[in-house]
Subunit: 338 residues, 2 copies
DNA sequence: CTGAAATTTGGGAACATTCCCAATTACGGG
DNA sequence: CCCGTAATTGGGAATGTTCCCAAATTTCAG
């Protein structure tokens, strides 16, 4: 049971002045006698007054808070995006509230409601892997609350988006695998409704095509990003009559899981099977063998998305701009492929 | 520029009833005609009404929000605590706002102000490594806002705390190093003002004493947790005339850094020098060689701390209870020591 | 039918603040 | 010393909601 906090009215009464004057003193308003201001400031300090953002937000219709909706936090990718975002937000005087959808569509809807009732000034969203209907996200637009997508973006909505060049990253990576002599390159692909999954797969296919390697559908496994299933897929792949000599996983956690499984079966990496991931998560360099992957500027994504969002917040609805920023990736070659 | 949102008054006007009635319909108040309620609910849905938590919090003097102040987020330890906390908070109907102090005392003070002006119902705090004065944290207590410490706790304040048995963890770990035949065990210790640093060091010393190994002060290096300095200390240690045969680092990130440095110098782990850490961060199992460490139930810490906090929030100030929960650790032996 | 009780509704204060407009006070030139 | 202007202050509406109390309406026993 929180006790009542000090208000400007308490200060006003104590100094026998009006709350308007106290408000002016506290907000650097020009129309105030410096002496009065000094007295107010001193008493405020002494009483340990803290302004109540709730009422300020209520009257100004601005909370200086942005919301972030991510599928999960255990994944280091989203944590890092949040770190980048928080920093940019903090610098611009914004707070951040974070909601996890746990890759669950209904929870994403409930997250939207939380953001709406908290009256955030804008939201950053990366959708769940099961989101196929976007009505809940369109509610932000309808209410004039800017939304910016990152990573898992929504094609249907014309709003700012921050992504990386997934096609090119996957292309470079696959080409690298070909260059080291691999020919039967398997791909643990992501769910087809996510644009990043499709782009990465397209990059993979384009590289094979360029090097005139026949596409073997058997080597392309659509996978729902549930790590528990990786074992099944890897087992399936290595028991194929014509088994792969490389596995390109949709992301680093998956690739690391693949490595663990291959190691447990005494399959040599990369001699027997090379393994590569995507994202360059912060421990990918340390695992054994170190993982070849495609680095994304993850914190940068959070930062850019947040800056885009705050810019949007400061515009009038009719001046909203739907820029899509595509950031570059970088191939990071480590021992899992050489 | 956010546009005006739908309010209960809009609904009231549309249905030609009073805002009180609308409020009752929306809050499951018993004194309302079911028909009226149905009409209100339907219209609210249709107009996409979302209650304004700002005004609700203002009148109820309750935000259903807890604040978390942590030194940093890059560290996987704190991220994991937050995951545990968020889950427990969410289940109890609380939102979470997170502030990073970046291990900086002044920023911690500013974080306190943010929490105070956001009128959080309670706070979870893990202090910076430089915090030696606690006046800013005592302000919460003075204002009747419950505070719960975890990991880096404050001795001076009699409030709930959640810690792990650092002494015992360090003791078991050091004993393990002794059992595998190591005698000159170095310790990269944390800052002395942090209780966890002291406890871990005491555990280390107690194990040496139990096995009648002389304490060599030269092997105990107080270190400020700034990873960049690890290289200097490791270099110093391996250039000692009587160099160590094991290094026990205060935490996993430090231990991993130590491993990288030793590997770069072609020092064999664990044959020449064994390495151990503390926390069992989520990638410690994957590095090469896999790191021996002391596992803490990190998510559990966040969960327990949050539950303690919410319990405290629901009590009257005079019924506050200052329980300290000590959770158990577990020695995880991996190849970096065998 | 009547009147009392029960149900349902409305009005308005309260929450802490900002901001506009009006009122008061201070200042300075003639 | 007076009056116009500038500086400073106060009053009160507004923000969106809850909740108390009173008013209105309905229900039903007699």
């Amino acid at each position: 049971m929180k006790s009542r906090q000090v208000t400007i009215i308490d200060i006003a009464k104590a100094l026998n002045i009006s709350k308007s004057t106290v408000s002016r003193a506290l907000t650097n308003h020009p129309n105030i006698n410096p002496e009065t201001k000094k007295a107010v400031l001193e008493l405020a300090q002494e009483m340990d007054y803290q302004r109540n953002m709730l009422s300020i937000s209520l009257v100004t219709n601005k909370t200086n808070t942005i919301g972030i909706i991510v599928p999960e936090l255990v994944n280091s990718y989203f944590s890092r995006v949040i770190i980048g975002s928080q920093e940019a937000a903090y610098r611009a005087g914004y707070n951040v509230i974070i909601c996890q959808s746990n890759e669950n569509y209904d929870q994403e809807i409930s997250n939207v409601n939380i953001m709406l009732s908290s009256r955030v000034d804008g939201v950053l969203v990366s959708m769940t892997k099961e989101t196929r209907n976007f009505d809940h996200l369109k509610r932000f637009e309808k209410k004039g609350i800017p939304i910016v997508f990152f990573n898992r973006v929504c094609d249907e909505m014309i709003v700012p988006k921050v992504i990386v060049d997934d096609f090119e990253g996957a292309f470079k990576l696959t080409e690298h695998l070909i260059e080291i002599g691999k020919r039967r390159i398997a791909h643990l692909a992501g769910p087809d409704n996510l644009i990043i999954s499709r782009k990465r797969k397209e990059g993979y296919l384009a590289a094979l095509k360029k090097h005139q390697i026949d596409i073997d559908e058997e080597l392309i496994i659509p996978y729902d990003l549930n790590l528990d299933k990786v074992k099944i897929y890897v087992n399936h792949l290595i028991n194929l009559p014509n088994k792969p000599d490389a596995i390109f996983a949709i992301n680093d956690p998956t690739a690391i899981e693949v490595i663990q499984i291959l190691k447990s079966k005494k399959i040599r990496i990369p001699t027997d099977i090379a393994v590569a991931g995507f994202s360059n998560d912060n421990y990918s360099a340390f695992i054994d063998p170190p993982l070849t992957t495609v680095a994304q500027p993850v914190e940068e994504i959070g930062k850019v998305a947040t800056e885009l969002l705050i810019d949007q917040i400061n515009r009038d609805v009719k001046d909203w701009k739907a820029i899509t920023k595509m950031l570059d990736t970088q191939l990071v070659i480590r021992n899992s492929t050489q």
